[in-house]
Amino acid sequence: MAKVLMKGNEAIGEAAIRAGCLNYFAYPITPQSEVAEYLARRMPEVNGVFLQGESEVAVGYMLFGAAGAGERVFTTSSSPGVSLMSEAISYIAGAQCPAVFVNIIRGGPGLGGILPSQGDYFQSVKGGGHGDYRMLVMAPASVQEAVEMVMTAFPLAEKYRNPVMILGDGLIGQMMEPVEFPEHLRSEPSKKDDWATNGMDTRKSATRNLVKSLYLDPEALNNHNLLLKSKYDRMKQEEVRYESYNAEGEYQALIVSYGTMSRVCRTAIDHLKEEGIEVGMIRPQTVFPFPEKAIHEAASKENCRVVLSIEMSMGQMVEDVERAVMGKRPVKWYGKCGGEVPTPEEIIEVVKEHL
Protein backbone atom coordinates (compact mmCIF):
# COMPACT_ATOMS: atom_id res chain seq x y z
CA MET A 1 0.00 0.00 0.00
CA ALA A 2 1.21 3.48 -0.85
CA LYS A 3 2.08 5.86 1.93
CA VAL A 4 -0.49 8.49 2.83
CA LEU A 5 0.07 11.73 4.67
CA MET A 6 -2.11 11.68 7.77
CA LYS A 7 -2.58 13.51 11.01
CA GLY A 8 -1.71 11.31 13.98
CA ASN A 9 -5.22 11.45 15.38
CA GLU A 10 -6.81 10.37 12.13
CA ALA A 11 -4.21 7.68 11.56
CA ILE A 12 -4.97 6.28 15.02
CA GLY A 13 -8.65 6.01 14.13
CA GLU A 14 -7.90 4.36 10.82
CA ALA A 15 -5.38 2.00 12.41
CA ALA A 16 -8.00 0.61 14.76
CA ILE A 17 -10.30 -0.11 11.84
CA ARG A 18 -7.46 -1.74 9.89
CA ALA A 19 -6.64 -3.82 12.93
CA GLY A 20 -10.18 -5.14 12.92
CA CYS A 21 -11.78 -3.03 15.64
CA LEU A 22 -15.09 -1.56 14.55
CA ASN A 23 -16.40 -0.28 17.86
CA TYR A 24 -15.55 3.17 19.15
CA PHE A 25 -17.01 5.22 21.98
CA ALA A 26 -15.64 8.60 23.00
CA TYR A 27 -16.20 12.04 24.43
CA PRO A 28 -14.64 15.10 22.73
CA ILE A 29 -11.54 16.64 24.25
CA THR A 30 -8.63 18.60 22.81
CA PRO A 31 -6.07 17.59 21.51
CA GLN A 32 -7.59 14.38 20.21
CA SER A 33 -11.13 15.28 19.11
CA GLU A 34 -10.08 14.63 15.51
CA VAL A 35 -10.17 10.90 16.21
CA ALA A 36 -13.86 11.12 17.03
CA GLU A 37 -14.51 13.46 14.13
CA TYR A 38 -12.70 11.11 11.77
CA LEU A 39 -14.48 8.02 13.03
CA ALA A 40 -17.87 9.74 12.99
CA ARG A 41 -17.40 9.75 9.22
CA ARG A 42 -15.46 6.53 8.83
CA MET A 43 -17.22 4.02 11.10
CA PRO A 44 -20.53 4.14 9.19
CA GLU A 45 -18.60 3.33 5.99
CA VAL A 46 -17.38 0.08 7.49
CA ASN A 47 -20.61 -0.69 9.35
CA GLY A 48 -18.88 0.00 12.61
CA VAL A 49 -20.17 1.55 15.80
CA PHE A 50 -19.51 5.18 16.59
CA LEU A 51 -21.04 6.73 19.67
CA GLN A 52 -20.31 9.97 21.43
CA GLY A 53 -20.95 9.16 25.07
CA GLU A 54 -22.26 11.70 27.55
CA SER A 55 -19.02 11.73 29.54
CA GLU A 56 -15.75 9.86 29.89
CA VAL A 57 -17.16 8.15 32.95
CA ALA A 58 -19.88 6.71 30.76
CA VAL A 59 -17.50 5.98 27.89
CA GLY A 60 -15.32 3.90 30.20
CA TYR A 61 -18.28 1.72 31.06
CA MET A 62 -19.42 1.53 27.45
CA LEU A 63 -16.04 -0.04 26.77
CA PHE A 64 -16.41 -2.33 29.77
CA GLY A 65 -19.80 -3.51 28.52
CA ALA A 66 -18.72 -4.03 24.92
CA ALA A 67 -15.48 -5.74 25.90
CA GLY A 68 -17.30 -7.94 28.40
CA ALA A 69 -19.62 -9.01 25.61
CA GLY A 70 -16.57 -10.17 23.69
CA GLU A 71 -16.28 -7.43 21.08
CA ARG A 72 -13.19 -5.50 20.13
CA VAL A 73 -13.55 -1.95 21.35
CA PHE A 74 -11.50 1.17 21.89
CA THR A 75 -11.61 4.80 22.86
CA THR A 76 -9.39 7.84 22.68
CA SER A 77 -9.17 10.70 25.11
CA SER A 78 -6.81 13.12 26.74
CA SER A 79 -5.65 13.50 30.31
CA PRO A 80 -8.70 14.87 32.16
CA GLY A 81 -10.87 12.41 30.29
CA VAL A 82 -8.57 9.52 31.12
CA SER A 83 -8.79 10.47 34.78
CA LEU A 84 -12.54 9.94 34.53
CA MET A 85 -12.07 6.66 32.70
CA SER A 86 -9.65 5.39 35.28
CA GLU A 87 -12.45 4.04 37.42
CA ALA A 88 -13.69 1.88 34.56
CA ILE A 89 -10.15 0.85 33.67
CA SER A 90 -9.74 -0.57 37.16
CA TYR A 91 -13.00 -2.52 36.77
CA ILE A 92 -12.02 -3.74 33.30
CA ALA A 93 -8.65 -4.95 34.58
CA GLY A 94 -10.35 -6.56 37.57
CA ALA A 95 -12.90 -8.31 35.37
CA GLN A 96 -10.14 -9.27 32.90
CA CYS A 97 -11.57 -7.78 29.75
CA PRO A 98 -9.54 -6.68 26.74
CA ALA A 99 -9.95 -3.04 25.73
CA VAL A 100 -7.74 -0.41 24.14
CA PHE A 101 -7.39 3.14 25.45
CA VAL A 102 -5.49 5.90 23.69
CA ASN A 103 -4.36 8.87 25.78
CA ILE A 104 -3.12 11.86 23.80
CA ILE A 105 -1.69 13.55 26.85
CA ARG A 106 -2.05 17.26 27.50
CA GLY A 107 -0.50 19.31 30.24
CA GLY A 108 -1.90 19.01 33.77
CA PRO A 109 -2.70 18.83 36.60
CA GLY A 110 -6.38 19.80 36.57
CA LEU A 111 -7.41 21.52 33.38
CA GLY A 112 -3.74 22.34 32.76
CA GLY A 113 -3.28 23.20 29.11
CA ILE A 114 -3.85 21.57 25.76
CA LEU A 115 -0.27 21.37 24.54
CA PRO A 116 1.92 18.25 24.50
CA SER A 117 2.98 16.71 27.77
CA GLN A 118 4.05 13.40 29.27
CA GLY A 119 2.57 14.18 32.65
CA ASP A 120 0.37 11.08 32.71
CA TYR A 121 3.25 8.62 32.99
CA PHE A 122 2.41 7.74 36.58
CA GLN A 123 -1.30 7.66 35.86
CA SER A 124 -0.93 5.09 33.11
CA VAL A 125 2.08 3.13 34.30
CA LYS A 126 1.50 3.05 38.05
CA GLY A 127 -2.25 2.95 38.32
CA GLY A 128 -4.61 5.85 37.86
CA GLY A 129 -7.53 3.83 39.11
CA HIS A 130 -7.73 1.93 42.36
CA GLY A 131 -6.45 -1.50 43.24
CA ASP A 132 -3.62 -3.73 42.13
CA TYR A 133 -3.76 -3.59 38.38
CA ARG A 134 -1.46 -2.75 35.52
CA MET A 135 -1.98 -1.79 31.95
CA LEU A 136 0.32 -2.66 29.11
CA VAL A 137 1.40 0.82 27.99
CA MET A 138 3.01 1.62 24.65
CA ALA A 139 4.42 5.04 23.77
CA PRO A 140 4.80 5.87 20.07
CA ALA A 141 7.38 8.34 18.80
CA SER A 142 5.97 8.83 15.32
CA VAL A 143 2.63 8.67 13.56
CA GLN A 144 3.71 5.43 11.87
CA GLU A 145 4.61 3.91 15.19
CA ALA A 146 1.29 5.04 16.66
CA VAL A 147 -0.43 3.18 13.85
CA GLU A 148 1.54 0.03 14.49
CA MET A 149 1.05 0.19 18.23
CA VAL A 150 -2.69 0.68 17.89
CA MET A 151 -2.84 -2.28 15.53
CA THR A 152 -0.89 -4.54 17.87
CA ALA A 153 -2.76 -3.32 20.94
CA PHE A 154 -5.87 -5.37 20.18
CA PRO A 155 -4.29 -8.83 20.04
CA LEU A 156 -2.18 -7.92 23.07
CA ALA A 157 -5.25 -6.84 25.02
CA GLU A 158 -6.84 -10.16 24.13
CA LYS A 159 -3.74 -12.19 24.89
CA TYR A 160 -3.74 -10.83 28.43
CA ARG A 161 -7.44 -10.05 28.77
CA ASN A 162 -6.34 -6.71 30.08
CA PRO A 163 -6.58 -3.06 29.10
CA VAL A 164 -3.80 -1.78 26.84
CA MET A 165 -2.99 1.89 26.62
CA ILE A 166 -1.32 3.89 23.89
CA LEU A 167 0.37 6.86 25.51
CA GLY A 168 0.94 9.62 22.99
CA ASP A 169 1.40 13.32 23.46
CA GLY A 170 -0.40 16.16 21.72
CA LEU A 171 2.23 16.34 18.98
CA ILE A 172 1.77 12.71 17.98
CA GLY A 173 -1.93 13.47 17.61
CA GLN A 174 -1.57 16.75 15.75
CA MET A 175 1.43 16.09 13.52
CA MET A 176 1.08 14.80 9.95
CA GLU A 177 3.51 12.16 8.73
CA PRO A 178 3.43 9.57 5.97
CA VAL A 179 1.90 6.32 7.14
CA GLU A 180 1.24 2.82 5.95
CA PHE A 181 -1.15 0.39 7.54
CA PRO A 182 0.74 -2.90 7.53
CA GLU A 183 -1.55 -5.66 6.30
CA HIS A 184 0.16 -8.22 8.50
CA LEU A 185 -0.94 -6.37 11.62
CA ARG A 186 -4.60 -6.96 10.89
CA SER A 187 -5.75 -9.66 13.26
CA GLU A 188 -8.80 -11.74 13.93
CA PRO A 189 -10.41 -11.19 17.31
CA SER A 190 -9.58 -14.08 19.61
CA LYS A 191 -12.18 -16.62 20.76
CA LYS A 192 -13.89 -15.32 23.84
CA ASP A 193 -16.48 -18.00 24.49
CA ASP A 194 -14.73 -19.10 27.67
CA TRP A 195 -15.46 -15.96 29.54
CA ALA A 196 -17.40 -13.33 27.56
CA THR A 197 -21.08 -12.63 28.12
CA ASN A 198 -21.80 -13.02 24.44
CA GLY A 199 -24.98 -15.02 25.07
CA MET A 200 -25.25 -18.73 25.76
CA ASP A 201 -26.89 -19.28 22.38
CA THR A 202 -24.11 -17.46 20.60
CA ARG A 203 -21.50 -19.75 22.04
CA LYS A 204 -23.81 -22.80 22.06
CA SER A 205 -23.24 -23.42 25.69
CA ALA A 206 -25.44 -24.32 28.64
CA THR A 207 -23.20 -22.60 31.13
CA ARG A 208 -23.37 -18.94 31.75
CA ASN A 209 -20.39 -16.60 31.82
CA LEU A 210 -19.87 -13.90 34.39
CA VAL A 211 -17.91 -10.69 33.89
CA LYS A 212 -17.17 -9.24 37.31
CA SER A 213 -14.56 -7.88 39.65
CA LEU A 214 -16.21 -8.62 43.02
CA TYR A 215 -14.51 -11.19 45.26
CA LEU A 216 -15.80 -10.84 48.81
CA ASP A 217 -13.94 -13.80 50.16
CA PRO A 218 -10.45 -12.64 51.16
CA GLU A 219 -8.78 -15.77 49.97
CA ALA A 220 -10.57 -15.67 46.64
CA LEU A 221 -9.61 -12.01 46.18
CA ASN A 222 -6.02 -12.76 47.04
CA ASN A 223 -5.99 -15.59 44.52
CA HIS A 224 -7.59 -13.37 41.93
CA ASN A 225 -4.88 -10.79 42.49
CA LEU A 226 -2.20 -13.45 42.24
CA LEU A 227 -3.64 -14.44 38.90
CA LEU A 228 -3.59 -10.84 37.74
CA LYS A 229 -0.05 -10.50 38.99
CA SER A 230 1.02 -13.53 37.02
CA LYS A 231 -0.23 -11.80 33.89
CA TYR A 232 1.73 -8.65 34.67
CA ASP A 233 4.82 -10.75 35.36
CA ARG A 234 4.35 -12.46 32.03
CA MET A 235 4.12 -9.07 30.32
CA LYS A 236 7.49 -8.22 31.87
CA GLN A 237 8.91 -11.40 30.37
CA GLU A 238 7.37 -11.19 26.94
CA GLU A 239 6.35 -7.69 25.99
CA VAL A 240 9.24 -5.36 26.77
CA ARG A 241 10.03 -3.24 23.75
CA TYR A 242 12.58 -0.53 23.29
CA GLU A 243 14.84 0.95 20.67
CA SER A 244 18.43 1.90 21.20
CA TYR A 245 20.10 4.74 19.39
CA ASN A 246 23.82 5.31 19.04
CA ALA A 247 24.30 2.76 21.78
CA GLU A 248 26.44 0.12 20.05
CA GLY A 249 29.79 1.78 20.67
CA GLU A 250 31.08 3.65 23.70
CA TYR A 251 29.37 6.76 25.02
CA GLN A 252 29.84 9.17 27.87
CA ALA A 253 26.19 9.57 28.75
CA LEU A 254 23.03 7.58 28.31
CA ILE A 255 19.67 9.24 27.67
CA VAL A 256 16.41 7.50 28.44
CA SER A 257 13.52 9.21 26.70
CA TYR A 258 10.27 8.20 25.03
CA GLY A 259 7.65 9.54 22.62
CA THR A 260 8.11 12.91 20.94
CA MET A 261 10.75 13.83 23.51
CA SER A 262 12.98 10.99 22.31
CA ARG A 263 12.99 12.42 18.78
CA VAL A 264 14.29 15.70 20.08
CA CYS A 265 16.96 13.77 21.96
CA ARG A 266 17.86 11.88 18.79
CA THR A 267 18.56 15.15 17.00
CA ALA A 268 20.57 16.37 19.98
CA ILE A 269 22.60 13.15 19.94
CA ASP A 270 23.37 13.63 16.23
CA HIS A 271 24.61 17.17 16.84
CA LEU A 272 26.68 16.10 19.84
CA LYS A 273 28.27 13.39 17.73
CA GLU A 274 29.38 16.03 15.24
CA GLU A 275 31.10 17.79 18.13
CA GLY A 276 32.78 14.55 19.12
CA ILE A 277 30.58 13.82 22.13
CA GLU A 278 29.06 10.36 22.11
CA VAL A 279 25.72 9.88 23.81
CA GLY A 280 23.62 6.74 23.65
CA MET A 281 19.87 6.48 24.06
CA ILE A 282 17.37 3.86 25.11
CA ARG A 283 13.86 4.70 24.02
CA PRO A 284 11.24 2.65 25.84
CA GLN A 285 8.47 1.69 23.42
CA THR A 286 6.65 -0.01 26.25
CA VAL A 287 6.69 2.01 29.45
CA PHE A 288 4.95 -0.81 31.23
CA PRO A 289 6.60 -3.27 31.09
CA PHE A 290 9.67 -1.06 31.42
CA PRO A 291 12.94 -2.01 29.66
CA GLU A 292 14.79 -2.26 32.96
CA LYS A 293 17.37 -4.79 31.90
CA ALA A 294 18.30 -2.94 28.72
CA ILE A 295 18.70 0.31 30.63
CA HIS A 296 20.74 -1.34 33.34
CA GLU A 297 23.08 -2.86 30.81
CA ALA A 298 23.36 0.30 28.75
CA ALA A 299 24.08 2.36 31.86
CA SER A 300 26.72 -0.12 32.96
CA LYS A 301 28.88 0.43 29.89
CA GLU A 302 32.40 1.32 30.88
CA ASN A 303 32.59 4.94 29.74
CA CYS A 304 29.05 5.91 30.60
CA ARG A 305 29.27 8.49 33.36
CA VAL A 306 25.68 9.58 33.79
CA VAL A 307 22.15 8.56 32.89
CA LEU A 308 19.66 11.26 31.94
CA SER A 309 15.93 10.76 32.07
CA ILE A 310 14.51 13.36 29.72
CA GLU A 311 10.75 13.71 29.77
CA MET A 312 7.98 16.25 29.33
CA SER A 313 7.03 16.02 32.96
CA MET A 314 8.46 17.03 36.29
CA GLY A 315 10.30 13.75 36.79
CA GLN A 316 8.09 10.69 36.62
CA MET A 317 9.86 8.14 34.45
CA VAL A 318 13.10 9.03 36.22
CA GLU A 319 11.93 6.92 39.16
CA ASP A 320 11.77 3.86 36.92
CA VAL A 321 15.12 4.73 35.40
CA GLU A 322 16.65 4.94 38.87
CA ARG A 323 15.16 1.58 39.69
CA ALA A 324 16.66 0.11 36.53
CA VAL A 325 20.11 1.63 36.97
CA MET A 326 20.25 0.40 40.59
CA GLY A 327 22.82 2.92 41.68
CA LYS A 328 25.37 1.93 39.06
CA ARG A 329 25.54 5.47 37.71
CA PRO A 330 24.14 8.81 38.80
CA VAL A 331 20.66 9.34 37.34
CA LYS A 332 19.56 12.88 36.51
CA TRP A 333 16.31 14.29 35.31
CA TYR A 334 15.57 17.03 32.84
CA GLY A 335 12.14 18.09 31.64
CA LYS A 336 9.51 20.69 30.99
CA CYS A 337 5.78 20.37 31.18
CA GLY A 338 3.99 23.58 30.23
CA GLY A 339 3.49 22.39 26.69
CA GLU A 340 6.67 23.81 25.29
CA VAL A 341 8.75 20.86 24.14
CA PRO A 342 12.46 21.22 24.97
CA THR A 343 14.54 21.87 21.84
CA PRO A 344 17.58 19.89 20.71
CA GLU A 345 19.71 22.89 21.66
CA GLU A 346 18.44 22.70 25.23
CA ILE A 347 19.14 18.99 25.43
CA ILE A 348 22.67 19.54 24.14
CA GLU A 349 23.23 22.08 26.92
CA VAL A 350 21.88 19.70 29.52
CA VAL A 351 24.09 16.85 28.36
CA LYS A 352 27.16 19.06 28.40
CA GLU A 353 26.35 20.30 31.89
CA HIS A 354 26.42 16.77 33.18
CA LEU A 355 29.66 15.69 31.54
Binding site: G170, M176, P178, R263, A268
Partner: protein, 185 residues
Protein backbone atom coordinates in the same frame (compact mmCIF):
# COMPACT_ATOMS: atom_id res chain seq x y z
CA UNK B 1 20.12 16.81 4.39
CA UNK B 2 17.20 18.25 6.25
CA UNK B 3 15.27 21.39 5.48
CA UNK B 4 12.43 23.08 7.28
CA UNK B 5 9.86 25.51 5.96
CA UNK B 6 7.61 27.58 8.14
CA UNK B 7 4.31 28.88 6.77
CA UNK B 8 2.70 31.61 8.82
CA UNK B 9 -0.22 33.98 8.50
CA UNK B 10 -3.79 34.66 9.64
CA UNK B 11 -6.19 31.83 10.33
CA UNK B 12 -8.23 31.45 7.14
CA UNK B 13 -5.35 32.20 4.74
CA UNK B 14 -4.93 28.53 3.94
CA UNK B 15 -1.62 28.32 5.79
CA UNK B 16 -2.02 24.77 7.05
CA UNK B 17 -3.10 23.54 3.63
CA UNK B 18 -0.12 25.22 2.02
CA UNK B 19 2.19 23.29 4.32
CA UNK B 20 0.30 20.10 3.73
CA UNK B 21 0.69 20.46 -0.03
CA UNK B 22 4.43 20.90 0.31
CA UNK B 23 4.67 17.92 2.66
CA UNK B 24 2.60 15.83 0.31
CA UNK B 25 4.79 16.75 -2.64
CA UNK B 26 7.96 15.92 -0.75
CA UNK B 27 6.52 12.58 0.33
CA UNK B 28 5.57 11.75 -3.25
CA UNK B 29 9.08 12.39 -4.49
CA UNK B 30 10.53 10.14 -1.82
CA UNK B 31 11.53 12.29 1.13
CA UNK B 32 10.77 11.75 4.79
CA UNK B 33 8.38 14.47 5.90
CA UNK B 34 6.63 15.80 8.96
CA UNK B 35 3.99 18.52 9.08
CA UNK B 36 3.76 20.17 12.44
CA UNK B 37 0.91 22.56 13.17
CA UNK B 38 0.57 25.08 15.90
CA UNK B 39 -2.52 24.21 17.76
CA UNK B 40 -4.30 25.60 20.71
CA UNK B 41 -6.28 28.60 21.78
CA UNK B 42 -4.19 30.90 19.59
CA UNK B 43 -6.05 29.38 16.66
CA UNK B 44 -9.24 31.25 17.47
CA UNK B 45 -9.12 34.16 15.02
CA UNK B 46 -5.42 34.64 15.56
CA UNK B 47 -2.33 33.56 13.72
CA UNK B 48 -1.86 30.16 12.18
CA UNK B 49 1.44 28.58 11.40
CA UNK B 50 2.89 25.23 10.58
CA UNK B 51 6.29 23.83 9.88
CA UNK B 52 7.15 21.27 7.24
CA UNK B 53 10.29 19.22 7.73
CA UNK B 54 11.76 17.54 4.66
CA UNK B 55 14.67 15.16 5.01
CA UNK B 56 16.45 12.29 3.33
CA UNK B 57 16.62 10.39 6.63
CA UNK B 58 14.18 9.72 9.47
CA UNK B 59 13.16 13.00 11.05
CA UNK B 60 14.25 13.60 14.60
CA UNK B 61 12.97 16.58 16.50
CA UNK B 62 9.63 17.90 15.34
CA UNK B 63 10.38 21.01 17.36
CA UNK B 64 12.00 23.49 15.02
CA UNK B 65 13.27 26.70 16.51
CA UNK B 66 15.20 27.87 13.47
CA UNK B 67 13.56 26.90 10.19
CA UNK B 68 15.57 27.04 6.98
CA UNK B 69 12.86 29.04 5.18
CA UNK B 70 9.84 31.17 5.93
CA UNK B 71 6.71 31.97 3.96
CA UNK B 72 5.12 34.94 5.72
CA UNK B 73 1.60 35.80 4.69
CA UNK B 74 0.98 38.62 7.11
CA UNK B 75 2.95 41.22 9.00
CA UNK B 76 2.87 39.77 12.53
CA UNK B 77 4.26 36.50 11.28
CA UNK B 78 7.08 38.15 9.35
CA UNK B 79 8.01 40.19 12.38
CA UNK B 80 7.81 37.22 14.68
CA UNK B 81 9.59 34.60 12.62
CA UNK B 82 12.00 36.39 10.25
CA UNK B 83 14.66 36.74 12.96
CA UNK B 84 14.80 32.97 13.56
CA UNK B 85 15.28 31.84 9.96
CA UNK B 86 18.66 30.20 9.32
CA UNK B 87 21.14 32.22 7.24
CA UNK B 88 20.99 31.39 3.56
CA UNK B 89 17.30 30.50 3.56
CA UNK B 90 14.44 31.97 1.58
CA UNK B 91 12.04 34.42 3.20
CA UNK B 92 8.95 34.98 1.12
CA UNK B 93 7.08 38.16 2.02
CA UNK B 94 3.45 38.54 0.98
CA UNK B 95 4.02 42.07 -0.26
CA UNK B 96 0.31 42.83 -0.64
CA UNK B 97 -0.28 42.71 3.11
CA UNK B 98 3.16 43.38 4.52
CA UNK B 99 4.53 46.91 4.21
CA UNK B 100 7.83 46.04 5.92
CA UNK B 101 10.82 43.81 5.13
CA UNK B 102 12.60 41.14 7.10
CA UNK B 103 15.62 43.30 7.74
CA UNK B 104 17.84 40.29 7.14
CA UNK B 105 20.92 40.61 4.92
CA UNK B 106 21.88 36.97 5.05
CA UNK B 107 18.81 35.43 3.43
CA UNK B 108 17.20 35.37 0.00
CA UNK B 109 14.21 37.61 0.58
CA UNK B 110 11.57 37.64 -2.13
CA UNK B 111 8.61 39.95 -2.31
CA UNK B 112 5.52 38.35 -3.79
CA UNK B 113 2.23 40.22 -3.84
CA UNK B 114 0.44 36.91 -3.31
CA UNK B 115 -2.87 38.33 -2.17
CA UNK B 116 -2.93 40.90 -4.96
CA UNK B 117 -2.07 38.35 -7.63
CA UNK B 118 -4.75 36.00 -6.34
CA UNK B 119 -7.31 38.78 -6.32
CA UNK B 120 -6.52 39.55 -9.95
CA UNK B 121 -6.91 35.89 -10.79
CA UNK B 122 -10.35 35.88 -9.25
CA UNK B 123 -10.13 35.04 -5.57
CA UNK B 124 -7.91 35.95 -2.63
CA UNK B 125 -8.37 32.36 -1.50
CA UNK B 126 -5.67 31.33 -3.97
CA UNK B 127 -3.04 33.54 -2.32
CA UNK B 128 -1.62 30.57 -0.48
CA UNK B 129 -1.07 28.68 -3.73
CA UNK B 130 0.59 31.72 -5.33
CA UNK B 131 2.95 31.86 -2.36
CA UNK B 132 3.61 28.14 -2.32
CA UNK B 133 4.41 28.11 -5.99
CA UNK B 134 6.67 31.15 -5.73
CA UNK B 135 8.44 29.60 -2.80
CA UNK B 136 8.99 26.25 -4.48
CA UNK B 137 10.17 27.91 -7.70
CA UNK B 138 12.63 30.03 -5.79
CA UNK B 139 13.96 27.52 -3.30
CA UNK B 140 13.89 24.44 -5.52
CA UNK B 141 13.13 22.52 -2.34
CA UNK B 142 11.01 20.01 -4.26
CA UNK B 143 10.36 19.36 -7.92
CA UNK B 144 8.10 22.10 -9.24
CA UNK B 145 6.00 19.84 -11.43
CA UNK B 146 5.48 17.40 -8.57
CA UNK B 147 4.12 20.30 -6.55
CA UNK B 148 1.77 21.18 -9.38
CA UNK B 149 0.59 17.57 -9.36
CA UNK B 150 -0.06 17.68 -5.62
CA UNK B 151 -2.16 20.81 -6.01
CA UNK B 152 -4.06 19.23 -8.87
CA UNK B 153 -4.75 16.19 -6.70
CA UNK B 154 -5.92 18.37 -3.81
CA UNK B 155 -8.50 20.03 -6.03
CA UNK B 156 -9.67 16.91 -7.82
CA UNK B 157 -13.30 16.70 -6.89
CA UNK B 158 -13.43 20.47 -6.54
CA UNK B 159 -13.04 20.96 -10.27
CA UNK B 160 -14.38 24.47 -10.35
CA UNK B 161 -11.44 25.72 -8.28
CA UNK B 162 -8.85 23.95 -10.37
CA UNK B 163 -8.29 26.56 -13.13
CA UNK B 164 -7.89 29.30 -10.53
CA UNK B 165 -5.28 27.35 -8.62
CA UNK B 166 -3.40 26.27 -11.73
CA UNK B 167 -3.24 29.90 -12.78
CA UNK B 168 -2.05 30.75 -9.27
CA UNK B 169 0.82 28.31 -9.70
CA UNK B 170 1.97 29.91 -12.93
CA UNK B 171 1.62 33.42 -11.58
CA UNK B 172 3.48 32.52 -8.40
CA UNK B 173 6.42 31.09 -10.29
CA UNK B 174 6.57 34.07 -12.61
CA UNK B 175 6.60 36.48 -9.71
CA UNK B 176 9.39 34.61 -7.93
CA UNK B 177 11.64 34.23 -10.94
CA UNK B 178 11.27 37.84 -12.03
CA UNK B 179 13.15 38.98 -8.98
CA UNK B 180 16.91 39.13 -8.93
CA UNK B 181 18.64 36.83 -6.48
CA UNK B 182 19.56 38.83 -3.41
CA UNK B 183 23.20 38.70 -2.51
CA UNK B 184 23.59 36.26 0.31
CA UNK B 185 26.72 35.39 2.10
Amino acid sequence: MQSEVMFAGFGGQGILMCGKLLAHTAMQVGYEVAWIPSYGPEMRGGTAYCTVVISDRPIGSPIIKNPAHLVAMNRPSLEKFAPVVKPGGVILVNESLIPVRSGREDVDEILVPATGIAKELGSVKAANIVALSAFVARSGIVDFEAMREAVREEFSGKEKFLPLNMAAIDAGRKSALEQPETETA
